[in-house]
Amino acid sequence: MSEDMNNLIPSPEVHETDGRSAPTVLTARSVVYSYGNTPALRGVSMDLRRGEILAVTGPSGSGKSTLMLCLAGILAADAGDVTYDGRRISEEDEAQRSKLRRTDFGVLFQFGQLVPELTAAENVALPLLLGGTKRAAAITAATTWLDRFGVADLAGSRPPEMSGGQGQRVATARAMVTEPSVLFADEPTGALDALSGEQVMTQMVRVARDAGTSVVIITHDAKVAAYGDREIVVRDGMIEASRS
């Protein structure tokens, strides 16, 4: 039966990874991180190329989320380097990394990251407002981004009034509003049903490709990892295999 089904669609051609010759935008070298006495990353090295969509997979507890937190500068690595744009962000202090996260990186989590009291437009505009943009300009930009994700009609609604999928799309808009170089997504569809998840991932990938943003997706679900160009498997705090 599966044979017949496979014949319904023509076989895939060999697909060239577009980013193969592209420059590297983010690098990790022998990164080590421990939570207290528990080691989470035990010497991880990898590259992220410009414009590529990278899936980081592995069993739960493998350290893949920690890797993302270190790459995004949310955590400072205990040892090793994380380099972005020529800067060793693992050595910088929290204030510098915080600014970097606002301007150059976008972060998307599984749930709970929108401010429930602010409207969707205000949530999306927040990174711009933090950068000093005036309210009117920020809200206009925010509405444009909401439109790109098909949720412009929710601009005046509040997160508790939205469905999970809508909330994630608003959150993705917020992550993209400062036109970051890298978008980090940690289990973005984990709390969503299959169709909402597909919608979120499709739009995320399309918008990111249009904007030239590199994406790092942390997931344990191979179907989500299949949205990427390349996969890195993390197991027990180390990279297991990295193949295109």
Partner: protein, 194 residues
């Protein structure tokens, strides 16, 4: 018969309809269509209705009979027997590799197999997210993805079972339940690429 349920057709139209609706399937041959119609006529599930005469040979239009309709309904109401055929070549190879091969070999096979599966899944994912893809194609892609994903999950689970089994049998302390078959420590490839 499903196609006829929508309306009367003659043979040529039936072939055309089938090819359009099941775009990814093998196109039907005319001989196949007429032979099938003949068999159905013998069972009284379809009946010829009229004969059109349009610039050429007679074209018989067929219609679904009430008995045929009943047979169609009955077929639609029965489930397909879920058949997990364990003779699937993937399952066989993986099992053998994990049980027989040494750790390096098994790990290598597993990671290559995963890469191949994932590449196939990427193809189907790209396809189903394109706006031009028709609904039947999307459904087929979903089906393929679900099965490929199931394969991968089975591979992961098999790996963990084998690892635990080895650990229990050999009493090897180093092989605790936490560590798994890992080809080496940090991969040198990315360093060399620099």
């Amino acid at each position: 018969m499903g196609l006829l349920a929508a309306g009367d057709h003659h043979g040529y139209d039936l072939k055309r309809e089938h090819d359009e609706r099941f775009a990814g399937a093998r196109p039907l041959a005319f001989g196949q269509v007429y032979a099938t119609l003949d068999r159905l006529k013998k069972k009284s599930w379809v009946a010829p209705v009229e004969v059109e005469r349009v610039d050429g040979p007679d074209r018989t239009v067929f219609r679904l009979t009430p008995e045929g309709r009943a047979e169609l309904d009955s077929w639609l109401s029965q489930i397909e027997e879920p058949a997990p055929h364990v003779s699937n070549p993937l399952a066989v190879k993986a099992t053998i590799a994990l049980l027989v091969g040494d750790r390096e070999q098994a790990a290598c096979y597993l990671s290559e197999q995963r890469a191949a599966h994932l590449e196939r899944m990427r193809h189907y994912t790209r396809l189903k997210t394109e706006p031009e893809t028709s609904l039947p194609e999307v459904l087929s892609a979903d089906y393929a993805l679900a099965h490929l994903d199931a394969d991968l999950q089975w591979l992961d689970l098999a790996l963990e079972r084998i690892t635990a089994f080895h650990a229990a049998v050999t009493g090897d302390r180093a092989l605790s339940a936490d560590t798994t078959i890992n080809p080496s420590s940090s991969i040198p490839m990315t360093d060399n690429q620099k």
